[in-house]
Amino acid sequence: LGLSSFQRVPLWKWIGSAAYVVLASVAAAVVARAVHGDDPNWMDANGGNLRRITRHPNIDATPTWSPAGNQIAFTSDRSGSPQIYVVDADGLGQPQRITSDDSWADRATWSPAPFNEIAYAARNGPGFDIKIRDMTTGQSHFLTNGEGSNESPAFSPTGRHIAFASTRLGNQQIFVVGRDGNGLRQVTKEGNNYTPNWSR
């Protein structure tokens, strides 16, 4: 795809039935590219299939698909500090900022259906905590509570569990917890481990 090496987690998604699209961050801008199918909605004016989703000069990074694939959430520091924004997947609308309670809100991951939640890393002290925002009600709550620094949340394919990286026991390790905050389990124990993701 000619994408930067730092897009570690490919964000593939079928959009309808005619386009298989990968979402990425390139040079700190969010882009999407259809790599399969012939949906004309994913063709650009030149017949290409690369769509630039964000065009702001500041940093836009870590995009995630909404469950239906019609929206994209991402992190941007366009307001002066990194915060989470949502934009229509056609890239034409104005991004809407959805976080404001945290000095740093970053690395959103949107749940699969039937849930409609965004988990993200929020900083209000020395480290990050995982926070979950219900996109239907607009209400947010903390999933972790100040033990170490907690980041890189990843919803399981069912949406019922969240994996994340935490320094709560020293080195950075991967943990899994239920979406209600119960049933915390440590997954890795050796070395340092980052950016978990689930098989499908």
Binding site: F6, T62, W104, D106, F128, P196
Partner: protein, 194 residues
Amino acid sequence: MPRHRFTVLFLAIALAAGGAGSACKKKSPPIARPTPPPPPDDMTANRPPAPPEPVTEAPPVAVPPEPSVSSADMGSLDEINKKGILAPVFFEFDSAEMSSEGQAVLAKNAETMKQYPTWVVSVEGHCDERGTAEYNLALGERRALSVRQYLVSLGIAAERLRTVSYGKEFPFDPGHSETSWSRNRRANFVVTAK
């Protein structure tokens, strides 16, 4: 949660870790290369003042272009990089904008690269530990690209400059103070071919 779900997740993480490990082996981890200390100020301060030079009108002379120099006798790439000939550029928190000091450093680096026209240089973007791993990779890339763009504007061929972001993963200073963070917010230079 069923046990097989954990097994699947663990395998996914293990595979990812294995891939990252092999990727790291391909590119050597950055090495902190401290800049040689400048000569003490008092080396010249204690010297008696030089007698005044007689004033002569020098005819204007055209300055010849800087001759290119071979780096064949400068040792291996590791030895060149350990000398810290290309100085790092530092950034403010969550910023990829270059300061006037950074621009001055890049002007010197550009002159050095013009002296050694066969050098190919990797510009590494680094960040302090305060952002998330993923955001810092984007920020580090933005810093490296910013430096690359400025060097190109100074006449360095773009194909001699490669960029990579290490985010917060290879801090030069492992501390957790502003002093440490300021040292880690940098673009670092590594000569990869000579």
